[in-house]
Symmetry: D2
Subunit: 289 residues, 4 copies
C-alpha cells in the first residue's frame, strides 16, 4: 500500500472535533476541559439482571454484585469551556439530559456504563460522542428548586421533584422524587468511572466496524452540595424506537437530589476492538482504570 505524506503547504487544521478549519472557530465543541454546574435528580431501581446483561457488549461482563441495579438520572446543566464564553451566550451553555446507567465489569474492575441517553442540544451530543455516551435528542424536564416557594420546591425534607422524558413525540419516562433526609451518597450506580464504547460502523456495505474502542471516562474534579434522598416513583413507557421499558422497574431503591460542579478533562483508552477480538490499549495495564 502506498504511503501518503502530508504536503508541507497544507494547513494543519484546528478544532477539537468537527468541522476542523484553518482558524479552528467552527468546531461543534471546543477542547476540554469542560466544566458544568447543575442539578441531578436520580431514581435507582432494580430490574432483571438479564435485561442489564443484554446491553453489555464485549469485552464487558456484568457487575459481580447487584447486577440488576439501574439509575435513571435527569440533569439540568449550564456548561462551558476555557474562557467561559458560553456563559454569556447561554443558548450555547444550557442543556438538559436524561440518562440510564448500569454497572459492569472489565479486567477485574467495576465500571458504570450509560446505556441510553437523551439530550436537547447539539454540543451535548458531540461531547457525548467523544465520551462514548450514546446520545439522541429528546425532550426532558425536571422540577427546579428555587428559594421562593410560590412555584418551586426546595432541596430539603418534603421537597417534591418531578421529571419527564420524551423522544419522537412519545413520553418515555416519568418520575417523582419526594426528599426525606440528607444522604451519604447520591446513589451508587453512577458512582464508578464509565466504561464506554466508541465505534464507527464500517463505511462499506455490510462491512465490519471500522473502529471500536473501549474507554474509561470520569470527572477530573467534582464539588457537590449535600445529597438528599427520599421516596421515588418511576414509570417507563413503550416506544417502537426505544427499548428503555425493557428495564422493568421490579424494585425502586430510592430517589436522590444533588447540586454539583464538575470538570471533565479526558479519559483513558482501555481496549481496541478488531476482527481478532479485543486487545488492551498499549500502555494500559490490567486493573488500571
Amino acid at each position: 500500500m502506498k504511503r501518503l505524506t502530508r504536503r508541507d503547504n497544507m494547513a494543519e487544521l484546528q478544532g477539537f472535533f468537527y468541522p476542523r478549519t484553518a482558524h479552528g472557530g467552527s468546531s461543534i465543541i471546543p477542547d476540554p476541559p469542560w466544566s458544568y454546574s447543575g442539578d441531578l435528580l436520580t431514581v435507582e431501581f432494580r430490574t432483571n439482571p438479564e435485561r442489564v446483561a443484554e446491553l453489555l457488549p464485549a469485552p464487558l461482563e456484568p457487575a459481580p454484585d447487584d447486577p440488576g441495579a439501574v439509575a435513571l438520572i435527569w440533569a439540568d446543566w449550564q456548561s462551558c469551556s476555557t474562557g467561559r464564553a458560553e456563559l454569556l451566550d447561554p443558548v450555547r451553555a444550557q442543556y438538559k439530559e436524561a440518562f440510564v446507567v448500569v454497572r459492569c465489569a472489565f479486567a477485574g474492575r467495576v465500571y458504570s456504563r450509560c446505556v441510553y441517553i437523551w439530550v436537547d442540544k447539539d454540543f451535548a451530543i458531540a461531547r457525548g460522542l467523544h465520551q462514548g455516551y450514546p446520545k439522541k435528542l429528546g425532550s426532558m424536564w425536571q422540577t427546579r428548586p428555587h428559594p421562593f416557594h410560590h412555584a418551586a420546591p426546595q432541596i430539603a425534607a418534603g421537597g417534591v421533584f418531578g421529571a419527564t422524558l420524551a423522544a419522537g413525540d412519545r413520553r418515555l419516562a416519568e418520575a417523582v422524587v419526594s426528599l426525606r433526609e440528607e444522604s451519604d451518597t447520591n446513589g451508587f450506580v453512577n458512582s464508578h468511572p464509565m466504561a464506554h464504547h466508541r465505534v464507527y460502523p464500517g463505511i462499506g456495505k455490510g462491512a465490519p466496524d471500522a473502529f471500536a474502542e473501549l474507554i474509561s471516562s470520569g470527572a477530573a474534579s467534582v464539588e457537590a452540595g449535600p445529597a438528599w434522598r427520599g421516596d421515588a416513583d418511576l414509570r417507563l413507557f413503550d416506544s417502537p424506537t426505544e427499548e428503555l421499558s425493557r428495564l422493568e422497574v421490579d424494585e425502586v431503591i430510592g430517589g436522590y437530589y444533588r447540586q454539583v460542579g464538575v470538570t471533565w478533562d479526558g479519559g483513558t483508552s482501555l481496549a481496541l476492538g478488531s476482527a481478532d477480538g479485543w486487545q488492551h490499549t498499549t500502555g494500559h495495564r490490567e486493573g488500571q482504570a
Copy 2:
C-alpha cells in the same frame, strides 16, 4: 334585535380561557391565582421619549417624569396554578420570557406598560393575552446562577450574567450585566401596576375593533430576595418583523438581578373603548388603580 336565551339542556361549559368543555379539562390555562418562582435580569436605559410615546395608544399619555426610560427584562420562570400539578410535569411549568417595559400615565396615575414581549411556551402566551401582554414566541436565554462556580456565576459582587433574545431566526437583543452591589430596588421602570390593552380586531373586513379594554394588572403578592445592581451592556438588532431597535439605547441606567416569588390573581378594568372614544369602566373611579 332578537334576544336568544340559553337552552336549559345546553351544558354550561367549563374552563378559564379556551377551549371550554363540559368538564373543563382542556383550557390552555387554568383559573387564577397563578404562581411563579423565578429570576429576573433587568437592563434599564433611556431612549428618545418620542420613541416611547409612539408606542402609547389612546387613552394613555407619556409618563410625566423620565418619559424615555425603558426596561428590558429577561425572566426564567417556573409557574403553577392551584394544586401545583404543573410542578411535577415541568414541561407545563417552566418557561422563559424577555419583555420591554415603559411607563405611561392614565387618569392622573403613572403605570408601567409592556410594549413588546416574547415567550417560549403556549400557556405563557395565553396568560399574557388575558393580562394584555402582547406575547409572541421567541428564543431567549439568560445565564443561571448556581452554588457551584464551575460553569455559573453567583448572585453577588462580580457575578456576570448574559442574556439573549431571538425571534424568527434573528437575534434581537443581547445584554451583559456585571453585578457590583446590593440595591434598594430592582429598577424603577417596571415598578408600577401595568396599564395594558386587550383588543379583538373586528371580524368583518375593514371593521373597527370588536372589543377594546384598558386594564390594570399587577401581582397579588411578591416575595423577593435582595436586589443586586451593576453595569450593563445592551445591544439591540434590526429585524424586518420587529421594531425593538427603534428604542435606541442612548444611555444605560443600570443592570439588576433579583430572585422572586409572585402570585397573580386578577386585575382591574379601567376603561372600555368604542367608536365614541374611551369611557371609564363602570365602578372605576378616576384615580383608582
Copy 3:
C-alpha cells in the same frame, strides 16, 4: 361615567392585532387577506353525539343531522399576506396544524366548529385567536407526497399517509390513511362556515367574561385539486391536560387527502353575549351566515 377623548397629538397606532405601534411593523399578524397553499389529511368518524354536544356552548345547538360526526384534520401549510414577503422568509410562512371539527346549528343554519386545534407557530395562534380557533401549541407531523417514490407516497390509489399529534410531550393522536379512489368531496364535517366564539375572560377576580362574540368564518376563495378517499385508522390517546380522547372513535367514516389553495378575508359577527344572554349582532338577520 366620564368620557375620555383621544388627544389629537397621540399617534394613531398601526398594526392588525398586537403589538400596535406608530409604524405598524411589529404586529404578530398583518392585515387580511391571508393566503394559504397546503395539503389536508382528514379522518372522519362518528362518536357518541353527547360527546359532541358537551362541547357546544350557548347559543349553539347540535347539528340536526348526524350530530356525532367528527373530523380530525392535519394540515401542512405555507401561508402569506399581501405582498407575499413571508414566502421568501419561510420561517414566517410555513406551519403545521391538527384540528378537530364537529357540526352544530345556530339560528336555523348548520355550521362547522373547531373544538380543538394545535399548531406549531405563533402567527398561526394569532390568526386563530382572531378567527375563534382555540389554538394551542403542539407537535404534528404528516407524510408528504413527492413525485419520487423513494421515501414518499403519491396522491393516488395505494398512497399511504400517516399523521401524528403530540402536545406537552404526550402523543394525542395517530392516523393512517390509505387512498383508494378519487372522491367527490374532501369529507363533509368541515364543509360549512365555522361558528366560533371569541372570548376574553373578565380581568377581575371571579368576574364574568368581559367579551363574548359568536362569529362565522370561512374562506373567501378556495381552489382545490382532486379529493381522494380511502380507508383510515385513527387512535386517540389520553392526556391529563386534554380531552380529545373523550371523542371515542365508534365508527370510522373514511379518510381523505386534498391539496388546496385558500384565501381568508374576514368573517361575520353573528351574536354578542352578555349577562342577559345572547343577542344577534346588529345588522345580522336570522338565517344569514
Copy 4:
C-alpha cells in the same frame, strides 16, 4: 498485550450505530440502505480559492480546476429505511438541512466535500456522522413549491424561492433564487462523490486522534426531475461560533432547483490516518473512487 476473547455467553449486540442492544431496537439509525425524497435549492458561487484550501485537511488537495467554487444547498427531505416504517411516523422521516460543498482532489481524482452542514433532527446527525458530514443542529427553512399559487411558487420560469439558515439563535445565511429556464445540471460543485473524514479525537488529554479515516461516499441511485436554473442572491452573516462568512461571495454563478429521489447504500474507505501519515486503505487502488 493481553488478548481478550469474547465470552460465548455474551450476547452479540444488534443495531447499526448506537446504542446497540440485544434486540437492536434502539439504534439512532437503522441499517442502510437509506432512501430520500426531497427538494434541493442550490446557490453556487466563487470565493477566494485560499478560503477553500484552508478547509481541506490532509491528505486532500485543492481541485485543479475552479478551486474557489462553492455550493450552498438547502434540502427539504422525507427519508426512510427498509420497510418504510418512518413514513407513517413522519417525525422520524422529515428533516431539513443546509450544507456547504466545495471540491477537492485526492489520488488524482476530483471529489466534492461538505465543509459545513446544519440539520434539524438527530437521525440526520447520526447518518451524517457515519458518512463524514460535520453535522450540527440549526434552523433552516426554504420556500416550498405547491400546485396552488395562493402562497407558493411553482418549479417553473418565474418561480421565486427563498431560504434561510440560523444556528445558535443567529442568522447565518439567506438566499433568493428566481428560476428562469430548465437546466442540464443542478449545479456542478456537488456533482462528484464526496471525500469526507471520519475522526475520533483521542480520549486522553492532549492525545492525538484515536481514529482518522478518509472515505468516499455517494448515492447508490438517484432519480431526478428537471433541473431549473436562474438568478441567485446570497448573503452570509458572521457568528462567533461559525466561519461560514469567510467564504465571501465574490461572484454568484447561479441558482438551481430540483426534486430528487435518492438511495444511499454505503461508501468506500480511501485511506487511514495515523501518526505516520496517511495510507491507502487495503484493497483500495489509486484512482479508484
